[in-house]
Symmetry: C2
Subunit: 393 residues, 2 copies
C-alpha cells in the first residue's frame, strides 16, 4: 500500500476510534487544536480547530489558509464563529465536549467553553495520548524507518570524536550528522517542563547535576536559560559519554542511548552498565501484550537492589522514578513505566526502556532501546552494539 493510501486508511480508523470513545462516554463533540493532535486526526498541521461530532463527518475550522486538501474546510477568524457555522448547517451545539484541557492555555480553553456554551468538558489531552500510544501498521513502519536512521547515525559516533573536544563540541558533530540523515531538528515532547535541543549528551560528573526538566537524567547545560545536558567542559580520560540524542527522523520518533568512554572507566561503571543490559534481557524475555507496566519498573528495581546499585539508579542527587515511557509523535507518550503504574501493555505499543546509572566522577551508563509490543513478545527496534565503546581504541 502506498504512503497516501495508508495515511488515508489511518485517518479513517483514528476517526472511528475517537467516535467510538465519544459514544461510549456520551460526549457530543471533540475539538482539537494543538499541532500534534491535529496532525494525528487530519493528516497535516493547520492553524485552526478540528471539530468531530460523535457521529458524522469532521469539520476543519481554519484560521489560516493551508495547502493541505481537506474535506469540510471552513474559514473562520475567531473561535466564536464555530457556533454560527454549526448553526448555519443545522447542527446542534455540543454540550459535553472533549477539549485539550492539559495543553490548551487557560485563556484559549475558557474562550472555547464560553463561546460554545459547553456544560461539561472531558480531557481530550489524555484520551488522544492514549489512542496515539497504540500504533497502526503504517505508524510502525514509520517508527522502524526512524529507528533505522537512529542506528545508522549512532554507528558513526566513534568517528566524530577527537581528543580534547568538549562535550558540546561532540554534540554539535552528532547533531550535524543527524540533520544530514534527515533529523527534523524539532524534538517533540509533552508537558511544560521538557525544554531540550536535539537530545542529551552527558559526560563525566556533569551527569550528576540535576535539571529542572522532566527527563530521566539532568546535566547543567551551557547557559542558565537552558539548564540541561552538555555544559561545555572538556572530555577527559576516564569519562563516560552517554549519548541520548533524538530519534526525530520523521513524525514518529524513537529513543535510544549508548555509552562511550575515553579510556578505561571504573569497575563500578562497567558493572552498572552490565546490570542495565541484564535488565533489558530479563524484561525482553518476560514482556508481551498484557504485561503490567509496573512489572518492568519492579523487575529493574529488583536487579538494581540485588546488585547494591540503588544509590546510582536513574541519578544520584535527583533520581527519576520511572524506567521507560511510550514513544511516538511525542518522545514521552503513555505508558510511563513507574512502580505504581496501573497500565498494561497492548500489542503495537512502542516504548523506550532506559535503566540508567550515574556513577560519581565517571558519568552516566546504561542502555536505552525502543521496543515494539507484540502479542507474545517484545521486539527491539534499535538493535546496535550495547557494550561501552572506548573512543581511544
Amino acid at each position: 500500500m502506498d504512503f497516501n493510501t495508508s495515511l488515508f486508511n489511518d485517518l479513517q480508523s483514528r476517526k472511528e476510534c475517537l467516535q467510538n470513545e465519544m459514544q461510549k462516554s456520551g460526549v457530543d463533540a471533540c475539538i482539537l487544536t494543538t499541532g500534534v493532535n491535529v496532525f494525528y486526526v487530519a493528516g497535516s498541521i493547520y492553524n485552526g480547530y478540528f471539530y468531530l461530532p460523535a457521529e458524522g463527518e469532521a469539520f476543519h475550522f481554519l484560521k489560516r489558509t493551508t495547502e493541505a486538501v481537506l474535506e469540510n474546510a471552513i474559514f473562520i477568524r475567531k473561535p466564536e464563529q464555530i457556533v454560527e457555522e454549526l448553526e448555519k448547517r443545522g447542527l446542534p451545539l455540543p454540550k459535553k465536549v472533549l477539549l485539550e484541557v492539559d495543553t490548551l492555555s487557560f485563556t484559549e480553553c475558557s474562550r472555547l467553553i464560553s463561546s460554545l456554551q459547553v456544560t461539561e468538558t472531558v480531557n481530550a489531552s489524555v484520551l488522544l495520548r492514549q489512542l496515539r500510544s497504540v500504533k497502526s501498521e503504517f505508524e510502525i513502519s514509520q517508527v522502524r524507518e526512524c529507528a533505522r536512521k537512529h542506528v545508522e547515525v549512532y554507528k558513526q559516533i566513534p568517528h566524530l570524536y577527537k581528543k580534547g573536544m568538549t562535550d558540546l563540541e561532540l554534540q554539535f558533530e552528532i547533531e550535524h550528522l543527524m540533520r544530514k540523515h534527515g533529523s527534523l531538528g524539532i524534538f517533540r515532547s509533552y508537558g511544560a517542563n521538557m525544554d531540550i535541543y536535539m537530545g542529551s549528551l552527558l559526560v563525566g560528573e556533569n551527569a550528576e547535576s540535576p535539571s529542572p526538566f522532566d527527563f530521566a537524567l539532568g546535566g547543567k547545560g551551557g547557559n542558565p536559560i537552558l539548564p540541561l545536558g552538555a555544559c561545555g567542559e572538556a572530555i577527559k580520560q576516564g569519562d563516560a559519554i552517554m549519548v541520548d540524542m533524538a530519534g526525530n527522523y520523521g513524525a514518529w520518533m524513537t529513543d535510544m542511548t549508548r555509552v562511550f568512554s575515553v579510556g578505561k572507566l571504573s569497575d563500578l561503571a562497567y558493572k552498572a552498565h552490565e546490570v542495565s543490559r541484564e535488565i533489558h534481557e530479563i524484561i525482553k524475555q518476560n514482556t508481551k501484550q498484557g504485561t503490567a507496566c509496573a512489572d518492568l519498573y519492579n523487575t529493574a528495581m529488583d536487579l538494581v537492589k540485588k546488585n547494591d546499585l540503588e544509590a546510582y539508579f536513574m541519578g544520584t542527587k535527583l533520581q527519576a522514578k520511572f524506567v521507560g515511557h511510550g514513544v511516538g509523535l511525542e518522545i514521552n507518550e503513555p505508558p510511563v513505566l513507574t512502580p505504581r503504574s496501573k497500565e498494561v501493555f497492548i500489542s503495537n505499543t512502542v516504548f523506550a526502556l532506559e535503566p540508567k546509572f550515574v556513577i560519581p566522577n565517571v558519568g552516566a551508563v546504561g542502555v536505552e532501546n525502543t521496543y515494539l509490543v507484540h502479542d507474545d513478545s517484545i521486539e527491539n527496534l534499535t538493535v546496535l552494539e550495547e557494550s561501552i565503546i572506548d573512543l581511544e581504541k
Copy 2:
C-alpha cells in the same frame, strides 16, 4: 559591574517593577511558573512556582531540587501545598492574583485557582511580556553580545555554499556554524503556533508556500509534521536565498535576515529588496522614544504602495499583517508593528524590523535588523552588508 552583580541588581528592580504594577492594580500576589518568566524574576529556571506578594519578599515553591542559590526556597510536591505553607508563615491567602493565563494549561491554571481559592485573576502573561520588553543596561549588553555573534556567523555564510546543494543542506551548515559560535539551539518563541527549528531558510518558489505557523513568511518544510521553511529542493540559478536564522546565542536574542542569490535575480527582486532597505532607512530617521508603533507599519506600507509592490509584501498567497516585533527572551515580544497597534516606543525597547517581499519564481527578499530604541533615535544592532550577495561570485 560583573555579571552576577548586574544580574542581582536586575532581579531586584524587576521585583520592584512587578510589585509596583501589582499595587497599582490592587493585586495581592503573582504566581509564575513558565520557564522564561521564572528565569526573568528568579535568575534561573526551576520546576515550581515563583510567588510574589504585593509587598515583601518572594518565595520559591520548588517541585524539584535545583542547584541555584535561592532565598526563601520551599519544597512542595503539589501546588495545593502553597496554601499550607503560606498559612504556616501567617501570610494571608491572595484573592486577586496575577496568573499566566495565556500560557499555563487550563488544567494547571484551574488547579491553582481552586487550591488558592482565587476570586479574581489578572493576566500575568501580558504583564510580564510588557515588563520584559523594556531592557536594562545588563540586558542590552546581552543583546549586543548576541548580535555580535549573529553578525559573525552571517559573514561566513558565503563560504558555506556549494553548487548543487539543497536548501536544507545549506541550512545544516549554517546551523553547525551557529552552534560552534555558541547558539543554544533552542529558539524560544511565544504562542502555540510557533514551531521552528533554529530559524528559517527560504529558497526560490518555496517562499510562496503558506505555513500554518505565525511567522512573517512560510515555506512548506521537509515533513508534514513541520510545515515551515526549507523543503529539501536543490538551489538553482536565479534563486533568492533568504536567511533568517536564529540569533539565539544567549538568553536574550536578536533577529536578522540577509539575502543571497545564485547568479542574477529578476529586476523586480532587486527593486523590492531596495525598497526594503529604503523602508529601514526612513524608519531609522524617524523613530525614537515616543514614536507610535503603527507609524512604522504605515511608513512601510506607503513605500510599498508607492512602488506598486503590495502583491508581494510579506508574502503572496498569505500576507502577514505586521512588519516587525519586539525581541528578547522570546523571539516575538511586544510591541508588534501592525497598522492598528496602540503601542508607543519606550527607550531601551529592542525590536526587529523585517519588511520582506516574496517574488514569484525567485524567492524572498528584504532585510531584517534588530534595533534598540533610544530617547532620540534608534540604533541598528545587527550592522552588516545589506545588499544581495551573489554566492557564485
